[in-house]
């Protein structure tokens, strides 16, 4: 199903609309704005520039930094595996489960595992996956995909969550958030203690130290990466940064852009498995670095998208996302970043609506911590669709007819003169057109105001009184 029918459903869903309104009023945009003001807007601008430059530097020599990362990670006792595709990532993971006789896997938040469909693959292989991020846990109970990359369950109301907990925890219904959270913690604690494998994502990979990093708020990530016998960090190959210093710059940007926090509650760096003298940590530590379409963007005109540090600011600031929510976008990544990533990773022809599902208002690129020119990338995807002849014929005919007419000024003058009169007739007495021929979509929810004059500007200008009488306007 495409974006448009999903969006239509979303607009008609009163619960979702109420939840989206709540998200907007209490949401991340205001928190980010305050964090930027506190940091100093000019300094933050400078930081954005540094962040973008660091990401560009990483991507310019991606292969070299990955090799360095692998060497350092291996030197510290971790294993580094590579998956070219999403399926291969799942196969590697299941192979690890078999080798270590894993029956239960606990997970902290990982968008790549959503991309690869890790939970489904694990279940099919007889391994029980348990999401431990509260939002992801709620969605696992509800059997729904996330609708936001950092607040995955924002489409769910408190009441809906209370109902889910009551059903799945077989407990008395609790309606206040602290009690609900406590109940979830109690349930999850048993899983933390009994799991054989911990699966985490990775916000960054540090080449110079061979570390993976997760930036979290709930503390579940610490449990996932330290309690079970085996820890697998699964993430995209583009997440590598050269140095810890680079990481500190991006961390400042990430948390402020995401939730408006100067720093998140937890920042965990994992560097190899438990050492001989360590009192805790996993016995085995594996990185699965996934390509799944990323190298196709390296060196091309969409490379800037690989700078993305997954903060969610673009969707928080997107008026389209705020109107229709994340599920409308149809795949793992919603909002402007999703409208670029989905066609790039899944296929241009499989997401024809997405590059067009934006007003190109630019709110996303202004908020992006690494200055990804999202509207320009969306426009380039539109251009690729035209180049590959993927747009509807009628649409292309209309655009080309408009452009051709506009290249012939006399014809254009005649066409617009006719259009002005025709639209005025349609507009009737109040000048509002309720049904626009060739533009029915416009009148789904609003009128089209008719021209205010029977004659176009050019026609009126041609009969304009000569200079010297410029105070007099021609009659319309």
């Amino acid at each position: 199903m495409h974006f448009k029918p999903r969006a239509t459903e979303a607009l008609a869903n009163a619960t979702l609309q109420a939840n989206l309104r709540k998200f907007q009023s209490a949401g991340f945009t205001a928190l980010r704005a305050k964090a930027v003001a506190d940091f100093g807007p000019e300094l933050f601008e400078k930081l954005r520039g540094e962040g973008a430059a660091i990401r560009d530097r990483s991507l310019a020599n991606l292969d070299a930094w990955i090799e360095r990362f692998e060497a350092e990670a291996v030197r510290r006792g971790a294993q580094v595996l590579y998956a070219e595709s999403r399926d291969e990532a799942c196969e590697l993971l299941i192979d690890i489960c078999r080798r270590h006789e894993v029956r239960k896997a606990i997970k902290s938040k990982s968008m790549l595992s959503e991309e690869a469909g890790v939970n489904e693959a694990l279940s099919a292989a007889g391994v029980t996956p348990i999401e431990t991020d509260l939002g992801e846990y709620i969605l696992q109970l509800a059997d729904e995909p996330p609708s936001h990359i950092i607040a995955p369950a924002l489409h769910k109301s408190k009441e809906e969550v209370a109902g889910l907990f009551q059903t799945h925890h077989h407990s008395l219904r609790k309606d206040d958030i602290p009690s609900m959270t406590r109940e979830a913690r109690e349930v999850l604690r048993q899983h933390f203690l009994s799991a054989d494998l911990g699966i985490s994502g990775g916000n960054f990979l540090i080449a110079e130290s061979g570390s993976g990093v997760i930036v979290t708020n709930e503390g579940n990530g610490r449990m996932v990466t330290t309690l079970p016998r085996v820890h697998v960090c699964i993430t995209g190959i583009e997440k590598v940064l050269p140095t810890l210093e680079d990481f500190s710059t991006l961390l400042r940007l990430l948390t402020r852009s995401a939730t408006g926090q100067p720093i998140s509650n937890y920042v965990s760096l994992f560097t190899g498995p438990r050492g001989r003298h360590d009192s805790d940590g996993p016995e085995h530590m594996v990185f699965i670095l996934v390509d799944a379409g990323r190298t196709n963007l390296v060196g091309g005109d969409m490379q800037e998208m690989l700078r993305c540090i997954r903060c969610g600011a673009c969707m928080n600031h997107c008026p389209v996302y705020r109107a229709v929510g994340g599920h409308s976008y149809g795949w793992v990544y919603p909002g402007p970043m999703g409208s670029v990533l989905t066609p790039s990773y899944v296929g241009l022809e499989k997401a024809l609506d997405l590059p067009h599902a934006a007003t190109l208002c630019g709110a996303c690129s202004v908020a992006c911590p690494v200055k990804i020119p999202l509207p320009e990338l969306l426009r380039k995807l539109r251009e690729k669709q035209v180049e590959r002849d993927l747009r509807p014929r009628a649409e292309m005919a209309a655009i080309r007819l408009w452009s051709w007419t506009a290249q012939h000024p006399r014809l254009y003058a005649l066409a617009t003169a006719i259009a002005a009169r025709f639209l005025r007739i349609l507009g009737g007495r109040d000048g509002m057109i309720g049904m626009l021929p060739f533009g029915r979509e416009w009148t789904r929810g609003r009128y089209f105001p008719a021209p205010k004059s029977r004659r176009t500007f050019r026609a009126l200008y041609a009969v304009r009184p000569e200079a010297g009488e410029t105070g007099d306007r021609p009659r319309f």
Binding site: G362, L381, Q407, Y412, T456, L460
Partner: protein
């Protein structure tokens, strides 16, 4: 100094009075204003739809028409943004045209930006009795930095009081072809904008782009508000209300 007025296709067809208001403002600032007769469209519809060829043809046409002008002034942030920002990308692979596009871009201004920054108008002839709120159009705001200029100019209009609405910088939902591809979403966004305009208790919303104007006015009337006026900043500054 010669100022070329690029009227824009939407003003030409939908609201000629805005073109004359812009003309009046520029002439009142003692510029020689020329309105190239063959001008049509800046090429933005093709460009944003991914049709590079159409955009190249119309952009080249526009550059030729305005080459003899010291300045190009546009009563639209969106079309001015197309010329000043996007033409450079349109001619990315055509160095000769790119050089001409760069020269034109450096001389191109959105109307309020030109009046405030270049013409430095100390006085404004317009008059408006009542309270208005200003909607920041996306391209003008984020591509050109048009934010303070229209407010500075409106502050000089006798009788006018400006109040800010919530989310004045949020897109109204027009988005060019977006409005006719995703009508429902576009209308839902316009609805939020209209609600914010009403909540500001202004008697009129003033803005600088025709797309937003048609979108907001169309939604405002469809939601049953026949009183709220939707005005282009040029009309208010030129005192269209007084005549």
């Amino acid at each position: 100094m010669r100022v070329g007025l690029f009227v824009t296709c939407l003003v030409d067809l939908m609201r000629p009075s805005i073109g004359f208001a812009a003309l009046k403002l520029l002439e009142a600032a003692n510029y020689e204003v020329v309105v190239p007769e063959a001008q049509t469209c800046c090429g933005q519809p093709g460009w944003n739809s991914g049709d590079r060829k159409s955009a190249i043809a119309l952009a080249e046409k526009l550059i030729g028409e305005f080459e003899g002008c010291d300045y190009v002034v546009v009563p639209s942030g969106s079309c001015a943004g197309m010329i000043r920002v996007h033409f450079l990308e349109v001619f990315r692979d055509e160095p000769f045209l790119l050089a001409r596009a760069e020269r034109l871009a450096a001389r191109t201004y959105e109307l309020t930006e030109f009046l405030a920054k270049v013409a430095k108008r100390a006085q404004i002839s317009g008059g408006f009795e009542g309270t208005v709120t200003y909607h920041d159009s996306c391209s003008g705001l984020r591509e050109l930095g048009v934010k303070a200029q229209p407010r500075q100019l409106l502050a000089k209009v006798a009788g006018l009081k400006l109040v800010e609405m919530e989310e004045c910088e949020t897109c109204c939902g027009f988005g060019g072809t977006f409005s006719i591809k995703f009508g429902e979403i576009s209308s839902a966004m316009a609805e939020k904008k209209c609600a914010n305009i009403e909540a500001s208790e202004a008697q009129a919303v003033v803005l600088g782009d025709l797309g937003c104007m048609l979108n907001i006015e169309g939604r405002m009337r469809a939601r049953g508000n026949s009183k709220m006026r939707v005005l282009h900043v040029a009309e208010v500054l030129a005192g269209a209300d007084k005549e």
